[in-house]
Every structure is written in structure tokens, then in C-alpha cells.
Amino acid sequence: MTKQPILEAEHLCIDYRLGNQWVNAIRDVSLTIGAGEIHGLVGESGSGKSTLALALMRYLAPNARVSQGDIRLDGVSLLSKSRPEMERIWGRDLCLVPQDPLAALNPAYTVGEQIAEVTRQHQGLSKSEAWSGAVAMLEKVRISDAKAVAQKYPHQLSGGMQQRVVIAMALNTRPRLLILDEPTTALDVTTQAVILDLFRELLHEHQAAALYVSHDLGVIREMCQRMTVLYCGEVMASAPVAGVYQRPIHPYTIGLLASIPRVEIGASNTRLPTIPGTAPSLAQRGQGCVFAPRCPVALDRCYTEKPELETIIHERMVKCHRWGEIDARTLPVDYKDFLAESKEPFFNAKRQSGTEAKQDVPEETPEYVLKAQRVSKTFGGRSLLKRLLMQPDSRVQAVKDVSVNVRRYSTLGLVGESGSGKTTLARCIVGLETADEGRMTLLDAALPPALTDRPAALKREIQMVFQNPSDTLNPYQTIGQMLRRTLERLGAASSPGNVEKRIAELLAAVRLSDDYVNRFPNELSGGEKQRVALARAFAASPALVVADEPTSALDVSVQAVILNLLKDLRAREGASYLFISHDLRAVSYLADWLIVMYQGQIMEEGTTEHVYSIPSHPYTEALISAIPSTDPLEQNKHIRLIAEPNQSTERSGCPFAGRCPRQIGRICEDEAPPWREAGDDHRIRCHIPLDELKKLQSNGTPVQAALDKVVPA
């Protein structure tokens, strides 16, 4: 039982130099990881989780230092090692699997070379031995045709393949400890599910210890045995995973888990509980509990006296003064939606601009804000330069004959993996791309495909919100200036007095106080920036807001705030949404109607409830199954899409064929599947009849993976 743990960190403190003083970033963190154990490290951005993870490898930024504590690998302290000694440990005993594999691979060398150089360095293998070792490793991470893949350059591989390469690189030397730094964050859910399986299996096989850093509580639950929750550089709780999800004790953990939307919710009038406020910066941390300013059950004592990390039972540790009451269930920790509490009167520009008639449309009439019929968009073609360079024809039909209708005051959710064409479709609607074919109408007026052909009045009615608000906010304008410009540009306010009034109302609508008018974007947090972006999108009271992954770059607790806001704004401004996301949980929270896209085509559409319940299209089924769940009662599901999407343009059959776990034979490849009506306009496009699909899906038999190994696209 008392086996030597592989990694031990004891009372680790890490400081940063800011100007000419040292600021304490990581405070008194202890953790141990045993052989074969995967330890989860959870935290939101700014919690210091990546700093800590790299520090455990004894890799610190030049302006950082370990001011206290110790790190031991197999009982030997790493802090006393010299740089050349560390170089012998890195890559051999202690390996990193980085967050963004493409950025972590050198673009100038083949992936085979980059794997082989590790064993050449550490095991003194010859060039050819190391190379064949690299190829063997690639086979081990289930890449078929590993020989060919080894010769490729990183940019030639898909995201999933790049991630496999990096895993192969890390496991090449049979390390003692792996640090996995958000290794699947950049991947599609379906690819993530496959990679997670691979991790679990390989880590088990190698009996390596691992630290799995992630902001995704679902992934942590699926991967780890133990987890540590980090907040503001301090450990809030550390415990076996099962217990945490069943009965979280620390208020922060409770809040995090509560703010994740669940696929099951569906009902559109619920609201997500949110954690109020934002995490303090390192320099602002007070005397007491770091979480106190945001904690719903904080006492006066919490502000003055720092709680100890106490062991409750069975390796379960928590840092909270009130854990006893929470554990005994005498103290409920309830997070309300803190935004809902502030009820400012809401300004409605529709009334002002004299278009209020829109709001009086009776609910029954099936009225559409947007109708897009048979939209197609093809990219590429062979430019002169490409023809000169003899590059192959790279045309990709991103959107293929797609029709979507957005009902008034509702949200259309558009889901699919990357490459499904969902973003292209949205951009065609907004006019950022010009559709090649198709007819669009907005509020019954014809909407020309090219932005330049659209009358200003129509442009005003469609606004877009992007994934990364920092890219769209001008850093040199204050929030006030920016909103003013937008209002003036769109001609949304008649007099200067009105402009100021509208700005105040917009800020109130996104729950930002008045003084934000004078702030610059770089003074805001990611969530606040996104709120400003929302205020801007709603400035001219558009009829349709197209939101492209608006919460994907945000932390869970911030995501909940934005999702709630989106819901409020829709109700009060009378707008409709086209909500695009790869996150089915976020979509299900907001959307009434869902469209599932695969390689430019619609596979299934229907109300959110219908799409999430059986029968589902096999692709939808796989997407839902791939979501790592935080629900302790939920079984792990077993549908894995191992093959990679096939991007070839000329296919007559079902686009999902070749990857579909329920494929029934040649017919899938040769013939386009028919639309099958499941009632209430719920439609599924598949060769399998609906009742059969229902039978297959209800008895929950695990499906055969379509292919054993992944074939490079």
C-alpha cells in the first residue's frame, strides 16, 4: 500500500516578478500522484493551473521562481537539479503533452523526425533505429500507414492526428510521469472521445502516472481517479473523482458543477446558476478565503481568516470553514442566476423606431425571420498561382444545398464538427461570404447574397457575435466610443441624447455598470468583452443575431453568464438567434430548434427535445455520446467515431458513410439517403428506417467502431 508515489509536490509556492516585487502566484500546493494514476487538475483561466503543471516539470518562466516547497520525482528532488540534469529527465522520465499540437510541433521537420530525435537524444539510438521506433510508436497510437505519416509535416495532418503524434512523442521513452496540458481542448468532441480512450489505454499499459490539466469537468470525470480544484493559485479541494461529482463539498466546486448546462435540460425557461463576480487578480487576493467575495455562504470570518486544507475522510481534502455544515447537508449552497436579480427597466428600441408592430404577431402564425433556401457555397477552385505551382484542385463544397428557417423569437441551433459547414452557412447568411446559390429572405424581404448588394436597413437587422471578442473590439476605443460609433453607423438613434441613453441601456442590458463607458477592451475580462460584443450586436435592435461559438473561448462559469444573458436579450429585445456551436450542452440550453450538419449537409433537424431523444440520426447519436458527462449517474457511452471525415467532394451516397457506426452496407455509399419524417417536422436523413433506428438505439448495444485504425485524411 505504501508504494512510493511517482510525483510528490509539497507545499509548493511559486512567485512571479512584477516590476520589482515578487507576487505569489501558486500558494502552498501539495499533490501526490502514484503509478498508473491519472490526477486531474481543474481550474478556470487565471487559476494558475498551467503554471503549476509546467512548474511540476520544473519549467518556469524566466521571471518566476519556486519560493518554497519541493517537487520530487520518484523520491528525488527536482529543485536541486542543474539544467543539464533536467535535460536528461525531460523527455525521458517527464514528458509533456501540450495543448495545441500544431503549435508545439516544429513546422520545418517531419513528425517522424520530431519523434525520433527524442530517443536519439535519450537512448543514443542511431538514426534508423530511432526512426523505426518512431514509426512503431505511431502505430501504437493507432495510426494506420504509420510509415507514410512519419514522413509528413505537421501542417499536413488533421488536428486529431497531430494530437496522436504528440502523444507518440511523449510516450516514446516510457516516461514515469506525463503532464497533459489541456490536450484535447482544441479538438472536436468526437475526436476528443477517441483520443481520451487512447490516453486511458496507453497510460494504463505503460503504468505511467499522469497529471491531466483541464477546464472541462466532464473530461476530468471520465479520465481521472483523483482531482484537485485550483482557484487563484490555491487548492480548494482535492479528492477522489467519484465523490466530488456525487457530492461536491467546496462551494466553488458546487458552483462550477452547477453552471454547466446539461443536455437533458431542454426546457427553455430554466436559467443556469452562475457564480457572481470574477476571479481576483493575484495581487488583489485578500487575507481570508480567496473565494470569499464570490461565495454565497461566506461568513465574516471568511474574509479575515484563511481556511486550512483539511482532510475529511479517505484522502478527501477541502479548504473551507464551513465544510462541516455543507457535508452534513445543513447548509445548502445555492447559486442563483445572479444576473436575474438586477432588474433594470429595459429599453426597447423597436418601440422607439416605430417597428413595434413586429412584436404583436400572434404566436401561432408560423412566421420566419429568416428563410434560406437551398444555399450552396464552394471554396477554392484553382487560382492562377495554384495552377502555376501545380497544386491539386482543392475545391471544397462547404455548404451543399442547405435550407434553414429561423422562427421569430426562437433560437435555431446549428451543430456539427469542424468542417461541417456550420460556420460557412452562418457567414453566408450574415453576408461575410457570398453564397454561390440559394435564395434568402429576411423578414419577407429578399436578402441578396453579397453584402454590397444589401440595403442598409437589411444589414442592420442581422448582427453577428464571434467566438473571440478580443478580435472584434478595437483596442484603441473605449466601450462608450465603440457603442456610439456603432449606433451612428447603423443610424439607430436619432439624436445625441438618445445615443447616450441607448448606450446606458445597452450596458445595463448586459449587466455592466455605467463606468464601463470609459474603459478600454484590455481592461476587461474575456466574459466582459463578450458582453460588450453582445451589447454592440444588439445596438440597433436587429431581428436576427448570428452567434458563432460565442461561449467556446470562455470558462464554464463565464459561459453560464453569457448563456443566461443571451436568453434574456432574446426575450426582451424580441430577437431571434442562429446559434452555432460544437458544444451540444450549450446549444441545448438555448435552442428550440436544432440542425445537425455533416460535411455541408443537414443530417437531422427538429425540436431540441426530438433531436436529443431517440430515434436520432447515427451522427447525432455519436455526437451526443461523445460529450464527456459530469453527471455521476450517467454511464459512459461507447460510440466512437474513429475514422476521420472524408473530405472528397464527389460522393453520391451518404456523407457519413465510411465513418458511420451503424452503416448498413453498400447502399450507404452509393445512394443518397432519403429524408424520413418522424413527426412534428422532425426529420432524419438515413437509409435505416426510423423504427429500426429506434430499436437499435433503445437497447443501447454498443456499436462496432467503423474502423480499427485511423486513416489519414
Binding site: 516539470m57 543539464p84 525521458r92 509533456l96 516544429n106 537524444q121 502555376l388 505551382l389
Partner: protein
Amino acid sequence: MTGYIIRRVLLLGLTLLVTSALVFALTQIVPGDVARLILGRDASPEQIATFKAQFGLDVSPPQQYVNWLGRFIVGDWGRSFTGGNLPVRPLVLERLGNSMRLALMTLLLSVPLAVFLGMIAALRENTWIDGLVSIGSLAVVGLPEFVTALVLINGLALGVRELGLPSTSMVPNNTLEDWVRQLILPALTATFVLLGYIARLTRAGVLEELKKPYVRMATLKGLPRRVVIVKHVLRNALLPTITVIAISFGWLIGGLVVIETVFNYPGLGSLLVEAVKQKNLFLMQAIVMLVVTIYALANLAADLLYGVLNPRIRLG
């Protein structure tokens, strides 16, 4: 790939055509009669007529151009108006050879040193070494060439005497040793001009690459610092430098007027200036054609090399 090269060469042909027409047009526009310029004010009308007839200047300007072009293409580059009316081609080609030698020598001296200095400055960012390299290279770039040249001549004067290096060249003999001796001072001067430029570029390139996650990854793979820098960082950091070296090559061939003059080095640049002064049309044309061609070929070579070294371009 071959298609690409062929197109680039065709493009070069077009450039040459346009340039030559331009040069020709300019000589027509600039006031002053060639014959009078060369023969002097007192030349009689008969002398001028003979001169014009001898060089084919007695037809209309467009006709003159077409005639020149036709002969140029078949290899008859015409004769110089002055200096015993020697044929242009051997004269220019000899000067080109000299310029090439000087250019290559300069690159050989400057590129490795500049890359080294730039790399050191980047690795020691914000230390005194970095400061020294940065300020030093700025200062050298700002200095006019003749100043550098004079400083070198005077500064090294003593050493020059002892080594037997001439500070003013004579007509070069053809032994290798002579070449090295006569090349070093002008090449050093040109090196100083280029050095700062390339070093700063390298420094910026290395700094940019060092920030990228693959460098951290390479370090955490346990590769020694030397391997990380030389194999991983430099390989990517030097890509932009290649283009600059190609451009510099063009400048070294046709633009070293001052250095060639100061050191009395018989290169192409000073010959061009001479030709312009004399309105020595055929000579001028031939030199311009050569310089443009070399400039374009150096650029093509840089682009190809860039492609070879950068798989993202080579393999789409």
C-alpha cells in the same frame, strides 16, 4: 515546379524588355546630343554624321531601339562610344566577373557573422550584449559607405602596409592570392553595410521564433539548448533572411558605386556610372540588362530555397 520556373524566367524576359525600352527612352529625353557630348563642342557636322552613322544613331529613335534589340539578342551588344570603341560585351562581362567575386566575398564574410551576432543578441535579449549589437548595427547601417571605407583604410593602414595589401587597387592580376588581397578591403566595407541589417533581421527572427510553443516543446523533450537553438529555432528564424540576402546580392552586383570608386575596384557599378555620364548607350543597356537579370535570378533562387526550406509552402 518546372512550370513555375519557366514562368518566372518569361517574366524576367518581359522585365528586361520593359527596362531596356525605359533606359532607351530616358537617354532620348535627357537633353544633350550624344555625339556632341563625346566628340566635343568643336566637332564638325561631318564628324558628327560619321559618328552617328558608325553607331547607327542616324535613324529614328524607335528604329534605333529595334535595331539594338535585334543585335543584342543575337549576342552583338554593340561597341562603346568611347575608350577606343571596344566591343561592349567582353568589357562588361569582365567587370561582371569582378563584381561577382566581390559580392560573393562580401556575403561569405557578412552572412555568417551577422547571423551569429543576431542570434547572440536575441538569446541575450536586453543584456549589454544585445544592446551592443543593436546599437552597433544601427550605427553601421547609418554610416555612409565612404566613411566606413575611409575609416577602414586609415584604421587598417598600418596593418595594410605590413600585410602588403594595397589600399588602392591596380588592375587585377589573375592569381588567386591577388584576388584575395584586392578583395578584402572593399568586401569588408560592404560587409559593414550589410552586417547590421542582416544581424537585426536575424535577431528579430530568432526572438519571434523563441516565443513559439514548439521551442518550449523541444526544450521539454530534453534536447540540449544548442540543439534547440540551432536545429529548431534558427531553421525557422532564418527564412526571412534568405530573401534579404538575395536582394543584397543584386545590390552588391550593381550598386557598389561608392565602394568601387573609393577602392578603385573595377566593378560593374562604377562602370555604369561612367556609362551614364557619357550617355554611352550600348554600354549602359548591357549593364542594366545584366544587373536586372542577376537581381531577378537571385530572387528566384531565394524563392525556390524558401520553398524548399519551408514545407508549408512546398507541400501546400
